[in-house]
Each structure stands twice: as C-alpha cells, then as structure tokens.
Symmetry: C2
Subunit: 502 residues, 2 copies
Amino acid sequence: MTDLTKQMLEKLNEFFEEEKLLNHAAHVVQFDMETVCPPKGMELAGETQAYLSNKIFKIHRDPNFLVAAGWLYDHRDELDVYDRALAEQLHREDMKIRNITPEQDREFSKVYNKAYAAWLKAKQSSDFSQFAPSLSAVRDVEFKRVELMDEKSPVLYDNLLDTYERGMTSEKLDEVFGKCRSRLVPLLKKIMASKKVIRTDFLNREVDDRAQEKAVKYLLDTIGFDFERGGFSTTEHPFTDSMGPDDERVTTHFYPTNFLSSMYSTVHEGGHALFDQNQPREHWIHNITDGKTMGQHESVSRFYENIIGRSEAFIHLIFPKIQEIFGDVLSDVTEREFYEAVNYVSPSCIRTEADEFTYIFHIMIRYEIEKAIVAGGVSIDDLPKIWNDTYEEYLGIRPADDADGVLQDVHWTSGFGYFPTYALGNMYNAMYRNRMREEFDVDAAVAAGDFGKINGWMKEHVWKKADLLAPAEWIRDITGRELTPDDFLDYLEEKYSKLYEL
Amino acid sequence: MTDLTKQMLEKLNEFFEEEKLLNHAAHVVQFDMETVCPPKGMELAGETQAYLSNKIFKIHRDPNFLVAAGWLYDHRDELDVYDRALAEQLHREDMKIRNITPEQDREFSKVYNKAYAAWLKAKQSSDFSQFAPSLSAVRDVEFKRVELMDEKSPVLYDNLLDTYERGMTSEKLDEVFGKCRSRLVPLLKKIMASKKVIRTDFLNREVDDRAQEKAVKYLLDTIGFDFERGGFSTTEHPFTDSMGPDDERVTTHFYPTNFLSSMYSTVHEGGHALFDQNQPREHWIHNITDGKTMGQHESVSRFYENIIGRSEAFIHLIFPKIQEIFGDVLSDVTEREFYEAVNYVSPSCIRTEADEFTYIFHIMIRYEIEKAIVAGGVSIDDLPKIWNDTYEEYLGIRPADDADGVLQDVHWTSGFGYFPTYALGNMYNAMYRNRMREEFDVDAAVAAGDFGKINGWMKEHVWKKADLLAPAEWIRDITGRELTPDDFLDYLEEKYSKLYEL
C-alpha cells in the first residue's frame, strides 16, 4: 500500500468512527420509539432521528469522504480483502446516488412519506383508490432514481432488485419462481385434498405474557443467542436490530391466544440475531457489515424458524420444556400433535400469517405484480382485481377486501424489489441445509440441542463471507452450485408429503 | 429589543435547536443503558454518550455561542422574563467554567472516573483505604474548580453547594440542621422508647412482578402521571428522566419480598415526573428547564412520596385497590395497620433504606462530614471512624463495616455539596404544604383522589417559577416566608407523636 492510499484509508476511517457513534445513537432512538417511547414523545424522537440521519447522510456526501472513497476504489488492488470490500461497497453506493442532488433526495423522501401516510389511511378504510395516486408517484420516483444511476442494467426492474439483492436479475427470478409455481401449485391442491387430520384446537388456548416470555427466552437460549451481547424486548411488530458488535436486540409481541406467534417470530428474529452476533469481528472493524443482502439475512432467519424450528428434531428437543412452562395448556397434547400443528398448512390471504408451505405463494404473487407495475404492463387502478384473481388462482382463496388484499403490506410505499428477497432466503437455506447434512447428522444435533455444532458450521460456511461476496458467489462458495430452487422444492415436497400422507 | 439583541437571541436559539436533539439522543442512550442494554453493549454505548456530551460541551464553548450569551446577559434588561432567565443561567454557568481549559476539564473527568472505579472496588471489598487516595484527589479537584471560578463566595464549601442549590450557604444550613438535630435527636429517643407495637410482619410477603407493576401503574395514574406523555420501565436503581416536554420516563425495581420499595420509589419518582410534566411550555421553548435546583426537585418528589404518600388520607384512598391487586397478601391486614407499617420508624445504617423520620439524620451526618473534609478539619484516613461515631451518636447504631458505612454512597466520587439538597427538599415541601392547607383541605382532596386540585395548586404555586427564581426567592414567593426547618420539624413531631402515642 502506498503512503497516499494509507492516508486515504485513515481519513475514511475517521469518518466511519464518527458514523459509528451517530449510527448507534440513531438505532437506539429508533429502538426506543418501537418499544417504550410514549405516543406524544414520538414527534421529538422523530426530529432527533432525522437530525442523526442527516448527519450520516452528510458524511457520505462530504467531498473529503468521496475523494478518499474514490481513491481507494481506484487503488483497491493495494488493499486487503476487507478494505477492498469496503471500497467496493462505497463505490456501488456512490453509483446509485451520486447524481441525486440533495433537493431531489428530499423530494423523493417526501413522495415516500406521503405514500406511507396515504397507504395507512387507505388500509384503514380498505379503499385502494385512496392509495393509487401515491403508488403511481412512487413508481415515478423509482424510475427517476434508476435514471440517475451510473453503471446500471438495461432492465429497469433489475436495478431496483439489485438495491436489496446484489446481482439478482428478473431472468433468474423468473426461472426460480417458474419452477416453484409448477411444482407447488399442484402439491398444494393435493395437500388440501388430503384426508389427514391435524389437531389445531389447542393453538388458541390462552397463555399469559409471563409464560410466553419464559418460553421465548428459553428458545433464544436454546439456539445459542448470547444474552451478554444482546437484549430482548416487546414491541408491536417484531424485529431485530443490531446496535453494534456486542449489542443485538430481538423483539417480539405476545398475543394472549396465539402462543405460536411469539414462539416462531422469536426463533425467526433469533436467527437474524445469531447471524449478526457471529459476524467476524474484522467486519465491524472495517465497517463492512452492511455488505450482506436482505436475501442472505432472511435465509438465516428462515433456516432457524422453519428448517430447524419446525423440524421433528426441534420439537422433540423443546416440547417437554414448553409443556412445563405453559402449565396445563398443553397437558393433553402429544409431541407428535404439536409437531403437526406447527406445520399445519392453511392458505390465507395474509402473508405474515402464512404457514411455511404457502408463504412462497405470497411472494410469487407480489413479484409478478410488482414486475408488471414497473414494466408498465398493468394499470395501477386494476391492481385490486389482479391481486385477488392471482390469489384465487394460486391459493384458491379470494381476499374479502383491499385491506386484506393489495393493501396489506407497507413495502410498496418505499419502492419495489424487496419482496423477492424473502423467497430467495428459502432457496439459499435449503441449499446450504443439504450441504450441512453432507457433513453431519443435523437432526441428531438439533435433537441433542447441540447448537454449538450447527452455529459453528453456519459461522464457518454461511456467515463468514456474506459481507464479502455477492449472493451468487456466496451460495456457490458454500455449496459449490449455482442458485436453484430444487433443494427448497424437494425439501417441501418430502416434508409435506410425509406429513399429509400423500 | 434592539435588532442586534434580537439577532443574538436568534443565534443562540439556533445553537439550542441542535443541542435539544443531541441532548434528546444522549438521554435516550443513557436510558437504554440503564434499562435494556446488555452488559457487553455498554462500552459502545459509553462511547456514544461521550461523543454526544462532547458535542453539547462544544456548543457551550463555541465562540459564537459565548458572544451571543455574553451580549444577552449585558442587555438582559431588554429581554422578556424567560430569555432573561436564560441569559442569567448561561452567565452563571460561564462564571463557573470559563477559566477551565479543555485539558483541565479532561483531567478533572479522569479524576472523577478513577474515583468511581476505586469506590466500586473499595465498596466490594468493604475497605475504605482503597478509596482514600481517590477521595483526596477528588477534594483537590474540587478546590481547583473553585479556584478557577469567577464571582465566587469566600467560603469554599458554599461554592460547591451553589452548584446544586443556587444561593444556599453553609451558614444557613448550619442553622437549619442545628435546629433539626436539637429537636429530632431527643424525639427519636422517645420513639425508640415507645411501647407502641406496629405490625410489620406482612411487609416481606412475596408479591410477583406482575402484581407490583399493576400496583405502581395504579399509583402513577392516581397521582396524575400522564401516560400519553410518559413511560414506565424497570431498572436496577429507580430514577426519572425527562426526554423532552412530552416524554417523561419513570423507572422502578421490583423486589419480590419488598413491595413497599417499588410502591414508594414509584410515588417518589412520580413526583419528579409530575413536576417535569407540568412545567410551563414556555420554559421548554426558551430552554430554561435546567433552571431549577436539586432541592426544588427533591421537595416535590418527597412531597408526593412522604407528605401525601404516607398520609392516612392516601392510605385510605389506595388501600382497597392495593389489597385487591395483591390478592391474598394483605387479606389479614387492616387499613390502619398498613398506614402504621409504611411509617414504621427503624434507624438503619443505609440512607436509601431509611424511613421518613430518620432520613434527615443520614443527611445531617453527611453534611457535617463533607463540610469538614472541604474545610480540611479532618484527615481522610479517619473518615470511617468519624462516620461510625456520628451514626452511633445520632441514630444509636454503628455500621458493621465500611461498605455499610462511609462507602455506601457514590456521590463523593464526583464531588461535594449534593447531599444537603435531599434535606432541603423536606424543608421546602413542609413549608408549602402548610401554605396549601391554608387554601383547602388537602387530606380531604387526597382521600377523594382529587389530584387535579393538588397538582393544580402545585402547578400554580410551586412549579411555575422554579426555573425563574433562586430557591430562597422561590420559597418566599410561595409562602411569604424565609426558609425555615420549623414547618418540617412540627410536621414530623405531630405525625410521629400521634403514631407512637408519645
């Protein structure tokens, strides 16, 4: 490394030293808003948030920052693997936003914020027409954003996708979802026609917060969450947030008559948290922890939630303890009945309530529709009908109204391209699950509660390089293969054929 | 107001606009550290705290800030009552710190931080000699700080006192505490000799967190805490923190076998919170909410905790509900027995566990000793013996070791002059209690749960001018009289003579 490159790196690290602290403060204020801030305290908290975000934004637009980042990218061959990854990350970020003026940025934010407010109102009155103009405006902003990008793909939608899942294309997704559709739609029909009876009567029995809290803490502890380096809180909508290398927050919500909700949302968020808690320390030091994609992160949370969490081995491990914590609630339920209940397939209109099997259908539907919106192949006004028709076609059910249909998710208020990452997570984790099974008996490790073994393997194979490699290279690095939905489809088919005695 | 003065005021308000947000972030990070931050997340949180504090510090040392503040102080006659109060506050602050260089400031902080660490270790091993050198160093820093002050009193200790209780002098305190000592020491002896039997057997019965939480929320609600503009959390050491005009946080700690602890600490903290929630909005707008003293704030918290909270009228109001919330725990206890138990006098070595009657003894002892330390009248090494002898003389008990004696409180790690504010709170509130009773039947209002009446009076008489007037003027404004301990002593004598049938 030349002296000048070294100086540029030092300069950049100074900026990041300040960003680290501003970012930490912003995360804490956000977390506070989501967990304990009283209603009328929100306004000031929002102002503080905006102030801190603006400070961070200004760092990344500071001429000295940009000069240093540019220099490092041009001289990236002189850098070690971490600093090189940082230079590349900053370059990609810069390509996306360099031509956006501060005025445009504010204007875009206004459109997204207005869309959010309109969506909230429209959803409350279950009337899509109130949201339609805002959705058009969001689409226009997305077009404008892509127009202003440097180094972009000719396929408009792919540039939006790339923001959340680096390097992913609609060509690849069409192939992936095409295979999913052709195997899963008929399989769902068979499941629905199955005579298999699954007990679900006990799922709505009342369990108080205290017992649910005890259960979810036990689950976090079981999968290896480090409470010395992480906290647990309650909130309206469960999420995970990383405050820093040694401070990972998991949240959940307790519903008195739906204990599975807090249990599985916690295992899901716990998966995100394990990923964050087990990142190489070097990634924090070199400020590259934002290098991983949504799909990579979601693959891990769904690995713990579904592949591990809804397996026979896991239920065998946890059932006695859950039964004990819940007192009389599960006294007439067998381990097998509990396993079947957590895997009960029931098509519903609401994505966030979907079971493991039908979840992917919700994503396929959203992907098809948002791709068509961006391509201009549909009229915004027709969306409620298109949405409902597609639900009927794929899942055999029809949403009762817009609130349960096209208005159910908040995501489109801030643009397009996010939804596919949820499904990609399933493809990735089914692939690395098979790789893991080549090395040791995963079910035996789970049944024995040996999460040291599982997390150790994840750390070495899945977590270590997520910030360094684009998802396509990363899954190839782990499995030696290209991204394919086959592993996921095989996994579902095998599991659910057995469960539903097909 | 001249144009220039107006410009200076606008300049200053710009600085405060940023300080408000930095300050909010700093408070939220601090609150997070005290409530949910995991052990290993503390280091980064501490760094963020230091960063934000330094930002605020820099604002107050910014030449443009100082010029504007100086101008406004010199032209304070042109200002309205609020801006004038601000100019005076800033002037007082400046007089205290203007000659301290940033290097000296860092050096002082180091001494305080080192003292804190040494105290923690010394307390753990109950060995004062490990803390003695640090205490000497703290004393030297305090001397140095006073030496660097402008506009100071010739009495060294008074300058320290003034930091916490503006305008208070040791001459006045000697008079106040002298009277307290001469009336309370013999009265305590009589109480101890009384044949009156007070039931306390039920105070250590187990009450789970859930029931305690329900009880304390009921108490906060009862005294008029606004949950739309405030939150409630648990923490190791109860405190109240104001995040902003519409966000007041109260915390408590639940001990399974000491329900009175969470109940009364919550009423105490709730008193602080009521004060903050009922400040005039103008005080926030004009950035003068730091104008009130520790003694003023403590007078309010102790008013709600003791004068109201431990009165027969309050017990009459809350007992049925507490009994109901605690289930069987209080089923064999009468209202009268409960009232007597919450007022049970029991000299102990630990200040924070003291009952209403003996609390003042702990403060008198600390005042005498810290005044002697500052005056150089005692050798630091002799403190454990002096401490224990004074406890024996005043309270008739002798601490078993240094941890329960001279090392029990953290306060001296950051200097001297704070303790007296705890006692002054009692003097002030007994005085305004009498004033309030001249206007309406306070006990009747409490018994009827009419806190609108009580808080309305407090708002009008006690809270409205606390940021504007020095405590001496403020108590004169409320009561028409000079500060005196007589009201407090009369109150104690009347209440406890009756209770103990003297």
